[in-house]
């Protein structure tokens, strides 16, 4: 695999304020990487640095094995051969779909231009809309024009800045599938910024979870969920129930290698409820029950700790009822 982007130990600070402190990642051809994290974690800053819209204070960014950014020096955006998709689409309001899409095309004769335009319109399912202006299109159509425009000149790398945050949840995941298919079809490497783990799960091949200007973990989305390396990652990627090992029955200690850990955590779906029996080992009382369609979210109290449990058998339980909880120890998540 050839690496398209290689970000090596980049730092960025504005005066005293550190925005990025030592970010590393590489990206291969055809791969989609998601820069995921809460607002202010530096994800958009990384994207803009890769785009050549922001200089970095230290480290290097390479595109196609050529250094494009280093200490306070950079090759400007217009010389990097990148495509970028913006949160607000940034379509040029006074230009038609055709003129928007062909904006970055150069060195082609009229026929070649027309051919590429037709290809792209088909790719993004917008045939017949080439003479319209952006305001005459729906949000999803505008998004696809922006995508076609960014892909038109076959960039080495596609950058997407929170591209789905303005889209209605109802159609969002349909659009994510479409965009992902198009990117895969064009076999272009892509970096995608988001604060939503659901978008990251649906869209990315690998995810770099960022916290305070650092990459906490870089892995496939399911690895981040199932084998998080820190409490931050575990909490960010989904709901979590954590126990102090000391509060759990002795027979469980052996399973979790007590010497090395003092906390153990479980995803809500890995805690099972059963009716209270005499032999119950871990007892809990139901605090709250909420029906969310496909299942129930039940909050139970165990030793003054509130735990979230997902179950499809919620009709058997009512608040104040005592229940027995079973931890699926093979799914346990352990931290130091």
């Amino acid at each position: 695999m050839t690496s398209i982007v290689s970000v090596k130990n980049i730092h960025l600070h504005y005066g005293q304020q550190k925005v990025l402190s030592g970010v590393d990642f590489t990206l291969n051809k055809g791969e989609i990487l998601c820069l995921l994290g809460p607002s202010g974690c530096g994800k958009t800053t990384i994207l803009k640095s890769v785009a050549g819209l922001l200089p970095i204070s230290a480290g290097t960014i390479e595109i196609n094995n050529k250094v494009v950014s280093r200490d306070n020096e950079m090759i400007p955006a217009e010389k990097r051969n990148l495509g970028m998709l913006f949160q607000d689409y940034a379509l040029f309001p006074h230009l038609t779909v055709t003129d928007n899409i062909t904006y970055g095309l150069r060195g082609l004769n009229k026929n070649e231009k027309q051919q590429r335009l037709t290809e792209l319109l088909t790719l993004v399912h917008l045939d017949g809309n080439q003479h319209k202006y952006p305001h005459q299109l729906s949000g999803g159509q505008q998004q696809r024009v922006a995508l076609a425009r960014a892909l038109a000149y076959k960039p080495d790398l596609l950058l997407l800045d929170e591209p789905f945050s303005n889209i209605d949840t109802k159609v969002k995941f349909e659009l994510i599938d479409q965009v992902r298919d198009i990117i895969k079809q064009e076999n272009v490497a892509a970096i995608f910024v988001s604060h939503s783990k659901e978008e990251a799960y649906a869209f990315a091949d690998k995810v770099a979870l960022l916290n305070q200007g650092k990459v906490e973990q870089l892995d496939a989305p399911d690895v981040l969920y199932k084998q998080p390396k820190s409490l931050f990652v575990a909490n960010f990627m989904g709901a979590l129930n954590s126990f102090k090992l000391a509060t759990l029955p002795d027979y469980l200690h052996a399973k979790f290698n007590c010497e090395a850990h003092d906390m153990v955590s479980f995803r809500p779906e890995h805690i099972k409820l059963s009716p209270m029996t005499e032999s119950a080992v871990i007892k809990a009382q139901i605090l709250k029950k909420r029906f969310v369609g496909s299942h129930y979210q039940i909050t139970v109290k165990h030793n003054d700790t509130a735990l979230l449990v997902l179950t499809d058998k919620g009709e058997h339980y009512e608040p104040l009822q005592w229940v027995n909880i079973n931890l699926q120890s093979e799914k346990a998540i352990l931290f130091n």
Binding site: A51, G52, L53, P55, I63, N64, K66, V67, V68, R70, N72, E73, M74, I75, P76, A77, E78, K79, R80, N81, L82, G83, M84, F86, Q87, D88, A90, F92, P93, H94, Y103, G104, L105, R106, G107, L108, R149, A150, A152, Y153, K154, P155, D156, L159
Partner: protein, 557 residues
């Protein structure tokens, strides 16, 4: 394979540095603030005791007159503008739509034209007094009392009649934009309409009132023609007379700096209050309340009052102008009028183009540097000139231009035994330069606003697609800014057509703008002969009011 060249090591790295556009923008800003700098320097230079002579004799009268005039015009404008604004914003009554724009029209009337017409009407030899004398069989002045229009009081009334629309416009939109729920809440808690006005509306609009009155005060101080025509001596006329009477630039500069000090006080007040107004204004939870319906006697009084103001401020003076125009058409429609109209058209167009170029330059540079406080500086510097009253501006422009001429003549005489003479101050250069100094604030501000509505992501999109910044400017920014460019340069064009005091001092020999042409006839008591030119000025002045009213009614939603 990519369609554009791959990133190569050959492409040089670029660090962030100041671009040539930015440098040029800074340079232009520097040139445009030169007059104020020179003015300040010149005010410290000796002036053959002219200034101290002025202090000993008439200066205190000038200052007192100026302050009295400012105080009087502000009070009267508030007295007219505030009730009009409140009634217009809060009540419904017959003819409301008509009056909402009719009450702005006096803004288009040049004060000196109104002054002339009113003098013609109300003077001893005017038709009003003649009629009164005929009715009551009075023989001479000794038989009755009638106010003298050619006084400080007369000037106050006339300036108020054409300046109150500032107060009216600003307060009207302030009252409209006020959160109706608050008024409703105070009414529910038992306040009458009056009480809620004094307890809720008025305190919240105090900032707007101060801002509006500061504008009125600045316009009053800048007025030259009315007070000059009435022979009321103020600081403006003093500057004019010092320059034309004594040819002392440094004494005129001293007076100008004094006047600027006053202007900056009002300007600072206005800016400060605007900041405070921002704190009050809410864009959310904004609801429009139901207007109080006025009927019967109240409605009649309101309509009568509004009609009176509209009549005095616009219908009467403009009607009489039209009358002059018809009666004296043969004299007034002459070659001079056509020639000077054409000349001012060309002059005003050059000024509009100049202001537009200057504004584009500083705003494009600012955009390229990502709109930092530093890169915005040239734009702010260019906007300073707007605060200069016309006479001060003229003196300020003359100082550097005559210096340059002096030096150039000396050197050219030494080298080539040739003197170009007054190649700057004696030509259109002076007036065009002065107007660019004064009016570029309009285009700079408008284009800044225009840029604010273009998402920086459009630039980023264009850059990432391999297009240079200047290509982006040409293909994206300029088309999107087109409307703003057009309207703002049109406004500059109109202002340049109407401006009087600077033109009076700076026009080259044999050149007249429509305004100086009209004013000359005003001072010769022969406005009738220039009535068509005066009508043209009023009509040109009506154009921006269409924008103003459209903008104001947009804020009414």
């Amino acid at each position: 394979m990519s369609y554009i060249s791959k990133v190569s090591n050959l492409i040089s790295f670029s660090s962030f540095r100041i671009s040539p556009v930015m440098l040029l923008s800074g340079l232009v800003a520097f040139v445009l603030i030169l007059p104020v700098v020179f003015l300040t320097i010149a005010s410290f230079q000796p002036d053959d005791d002219i200034f101290s002579h002025l202090i000993d004799t008439v200066l205190s009268d000038y200052v007192i007159n100026t302050l009295l005039l400012v105080f009087g015009v502000c009070s009267l404008s508030l007295l007219i503008g505030l009730p009009l604004a409140w009634v217009m914003a809060m009540c419904s009554f017959p003819g409301k739509r008509f009056f909402s724009w009719a009450l702005i029209l006096p803004l288009a009337m040049p004060a000196y034209v109104v002054a002339y017409v009113f003098t013609d009407l109300f003077d001893y030899a005017g038709s009003v007094q003649i009629t009164l004398r005929a009715w009551f069989n009075w023989q001479s002045v000794a038989d009755y009392w009638f106010f003298d229009i050619r006084t400080l009081g007369g000037a106050t009334i006339i300036l108020s009649l054409v300046l109150y629309p500032y107060v009216y416009l600003l307060l009207r939109s302030a009252f409209i934009n006020q959160c109706a729920v608050q008024v409703q809440a105070s009414r529910i808690m038992g306040d009458s309409a009056w009480r809620s006005f004094f307890r809720i509306s008025l305190p919240q609009t105090r900032g707007v009132i101060v801002a509006a009155l500061s504008l009125v005060a600045m316009e009053t101080m800048a007025d030259f023609a009315t007070v000059h025509y009435f022979a009321v001596n103020t600081l403006t006329t003093a500057i004019y007379d010092t320059w034309l009477g004594y040819y002392s630039l440094s004494a005129a500069a001293k007076l100008s700096v004094m006047m600027l000090a006053f202007v900056f006080i009002f300007l600072a007040l206005e800016k400060y209050q605007r900041k405070r107004i921002k704190n009050y204004s809410r864009s959310d939870s904004f609801t429009q309340g139901e207007p109080y319906p006025l009927t019967g006697l109240t409605a009649l009084l309101v309509v009568a009052g509004m009609s009176f103001i509209f009549f005095m401020g616009f219908v009467l003076p403009f009607g009489i102008l039209i009358q002059y125009g018809i009666d004296y058409f043969d004299v007034a429609w002459n070659d001079d009028f056509i020639k000077f109209a054409w000349q001012s058209l060309l002059m005003a167009s050059s000024v509009a183009v100049g202001c537009l170029l200057v504004a584009l330059l500083c705003n494009i540079a600012n955009r390229q540097q990502h709109e930092t406080p530093f890169s915005a500086l040239p734009g702010h510097a260019m906007s300073l000139g707007y605060a200069l009253p016309g006479t001060v501006l003229a003196i300020a422009v003359l100082i550097p231009l005559t210096q340059i001429e002096l030096v150039a003549n000396e050197y050219l005489d030494n080298w080539f035994a040739w003197q170009p003479g007054l190649f700057l101050s004696g030509t259109l250069t002076a007036i065009i330069f002065a107007y660019i100094v004064r009016f570029s604030a309009i285009t700079v501000g408008a284009i800044r606003e225009g840029y604010a509505s273009i998402s920086p992501n459009l630039d980023n999109a264009s850059l990432t697609m391999g297009r240079s910044f200047l290509f982006t400017v040409k293909r994206i920014h300029l088309p999107l800014l087109f409307k703003v460019m057009l309207t703002s340069s049109l406004l500059v064009f109109i202002e340049a057509m109407k401006e009087l005091p600077a033109a009076l001092l700076l026009r080259p020999f044999g050149f007249e703008t429509l305004a100086t042409y009209v004013y000359q006839y005003v001072s010769d008591e022969q406005l009738e002969h220039a009535s068509i030119a005066a009508i043209a000025i009023v009509l040109v002045g009506l154009i921006p009011l269409i924008f103003v009213n459209r903008f104001a009614s947009q804020s009414q939603r």
